[in-house]
């Protein structure tokens, strides 16, 4: 059985699930500090709840910035999030789905 998520980790997982795809956005939406968000992202990537991929270099070059690392939720992550939602009622009050997805093209 997969380990149960802490509340902070569940918030971060839900935020990724809502379409906020990289660390800075997650920090902005959740208000959690960088020292919490990034280790949690790595733990959940190791646990298979998240999948990470690098942005295409061409897209980053168009905006004259380095390529970002994007995270997306996996099927296992969705199951863990559903389990977390049943335990943490406050998760339901968190921000809704992002309207536009980040460009990965």
């Amino acid at each position: 059985m997969a380990p149960s998520l802490s509340y902070s980790a569940a918030v971060i997982l839900q935020t990724i699930g809502n379409g906020y795809a990289y660390g800075f956005e997650v920090m902005d939406v959740t208000g959690l500090p960088s020292g919490t968000v990034y280790p949690a992202l790595r733990r959940m990537e190791d646990a298979g709840y998240l999948r990470a991929s690098w942005e295409k270099a061409a897209a980053a070059q168009r905006e004259q910035r380095p390529p970002r690392r994007y995270y997306e939720i996996t099927t296992l992550g969705k199951q863990a999030l559903a389990d977390a939602r049943s335990r943490y009622r406050l998760l339901a009050e968190r921000p809704a789905t992002r309207r536009t997805s980040p460009s990965k093209a």
Binding site: F24, S34, T36, Y38, R65, P66, P67, R68, R69
Partner: protein, 867 residues
Amino acid sequence: MPARWIVIAASLLVPPGQRAEWRAEWEAELAHYARVRSARRISTVRRSAGAVIDALWLQAGQWRSLRFLLRNYRVSATAILSLAVAIAATLVGLACWDAMLHRPPGVPDPGQLRSLHFATSDDPFGAISYEDFRTISTRTKAFTTITAYPYSVSSGLLDFHGRTERFVATEAVDNFFAALSIQPVLGTLSLPRDGGPSGDAVVISEPLWRRLGTDPAIVGKTVRINGHAATIVGVAPASFRGMLFVWNPDIWMSFAAAEAIFGNPPTQVTDRSQRWLHIVGRIAPGVTDAAAAAEVQNLVAAIHRQHPSELRQTVIVRPARTTPESERSWITAILATLVASVLLLLTVACVNVANLLLGLALSRRYEFSVRTAIGASRWHLILPQVRESLALAATAGIIGYGIARAGLVWLSSYRPSIGGFFPSPAIDFRPGVLVTVIATALITGCGLAIGLIVAWRSTSEGLSLAITHASTVTHTPRTRLRNGMVLVQMAVATLVLVALGVTVSSLARLQDAPLGFSSRHLGFIGVNLAETGYTEQTGPSFYERARDRLRSLPGVEAVSFVDSPPFLGGWGLDTVSPAEAPAGTPAVRGIRASVVDRQYFTTMGIDIGKGRAFEASDSASAPEVVIVNETMARRFWPGTDPIGRQLHIANHDRSVIVVGVAADGKYDDIDEAPAPFMYLALSQHYLPELTIVVRTTPKTAPAISTLVDRLRDIEPRLAVGNLGLMSLDQLLALPLFFSRAVAAMVGTVAGITLLLAIAGLYSSTFYSVHQRRQELTLRMLLGADVSNILGLALRSMATVAVTGAIVGLIAGGALLPLVSSLFFGIRPVEPLVILGVAAGALMLVVITTMTVVWPLARRGPSLQAMR
């Protein structure tokens, strides 16, 4: 970009296989932060600090060593805590240094800001008159803008829509905020020039605005300051803490407003001999400090040609700093002592941690031997130990940073109740980027040094033997290292004890210093009659009625009036000369003078050595009289009787007759040198704003609020002036505040150092005695008693510890002559302090050794110990 360097440094903690990707991700994130930062004010440095935690988390997954530390959690926790305390103290010391001596004032583009000083033979960082400032500001080309402000504040009570607040106010010229590029939170920061229209305009600080209820429409509203109506024209941002040392003003006002509200003399803006303004300016691009100084020097010379009576002044241009140049030397000395002390403290903590880890390393000798036997190189054995100590140091660093930051945030907003003032500090002590970088380097350095020492020692002692003699301990090299550590700790602890002894002795002497007045049960009440309609004709009768009313209360022994009590400043300054001095004799400037009534000397307990105190006959129509202090009498009439002599006072060009000589006293600071001082008679100089001094009996003294109630029986509208209500203890808190703060600071550092040294000494003794357990048991079996065993242990440990203490005493004795002048009443040689510290250090060694040895010796020989 510091944030990028933090990420690069943190990437070294990330396992090599993941490092490149990790850095790429963080650098991409930081690039994004930097883009939105200006819009959202996000601190990239703060956010990049998360990279360190992220990197540590990644590294933690790799480290077997961390598991070892967790298994030995007691030792790890002790090491982390002692290191964290030392790191916190180091950070506090460094942050104080940075905030007070290094960091420029909190204004935009501080690099262009310069302070202009006008040195005279009396004052190397002198001020300038208002008229001279105006002349220079209109003619200078070397500065794009210059502005002026005094190093003084006034305090009082303000009333805003029924809400009463204490405040600290200061004055500034009209372009003060514009020259410093300070933007308002609300309204405008432009003060009226020279009392023009809207002379009652004041700017308030953001903290005061918040205390008044954060009214967004406060601009244009009226506030009553010490009873005077003033209009709030703007709110200055909280990030601007003023240009004054220590004081963080709540209110800035024009000179005209200060004249109306605080009764400042109008001559301060018209009289060129009143030099009270300090100048800062923005230097023009491409102009050097020397060129700017030369240009202003020429302007000063031109002023001197027009006004030959002006003092000759040498212009000095320096980069503007939070701490004024005149205060920097002694603050540097004190902060240097503090930083040296905390670095010593950090050394002690590192030695302790190394000692503890050396002890732990013993239990791993077998593991290391096996790994060596199967082919591990020495580097493979050293690396995990270095990682452990780095992890310990990083954890201690994070805890220490948290402790220090909390303390510094508290210190930056601390509002002590000193006398009638409630100032908040003008200095932001929170650690900046520089301090964070230095602290990170120090923490890393400590971790590396501890790790390398421990690893080198634990892998250099015949590891192959340990497989066959796993329980054998090789003594000599480690004992030498351990003894060296004990010696260092004792030396540092003793040195810090010397510093503590000097500080406490100085404070004790300061508190017992003769003040020039013998009364100790005094209360002070500031009153302002001008606001209640009293005039020069009606005011004196109020004073007489107030005296009678208060004097009739049980517990009141004497009542008197003075313009300003000691240690609160506010004295008049006069230029005087003996009337009979030969023509051409230069007058003495800046003689302090106080206006007092005829009971003042008996109320305060000031001795009149010669002549008399003021009398009823010294009326406004009688010849003006003066009482001088002993120093002034000696300086003006050496070897002769000053009674009956005449003094010429430049202000209003008048002559006064000396009728008495009062004992010398302390007027502005407890540690000030004897200086000339004179008293003028209240009956000849009516003042509407005075302080009532009440001497009470020790046991039946009425509360000061009761005294005020009785005064309001006479005059219900009486305004309690800017001094408010305070006792002598509160009054003395002002001059003693800094000395007490320094004593508390040194005491804290000394206490922590001592605790760490005791812990280190205890662990060393404990370890050493337990290493020799077999030998000691054998000796007991052969007939040695408790005293023999104690003596043996004392000889082995105490020799090293006492040597360390002697080294510390010698260092303390050598440093004392260099710093003795910084402390009140401390001589270059302080035998009592040195002897006291020596006795304390000796007791420390004996008690620590006995605490370890006593239980072992009392239990007697144990067969288990022989196994």
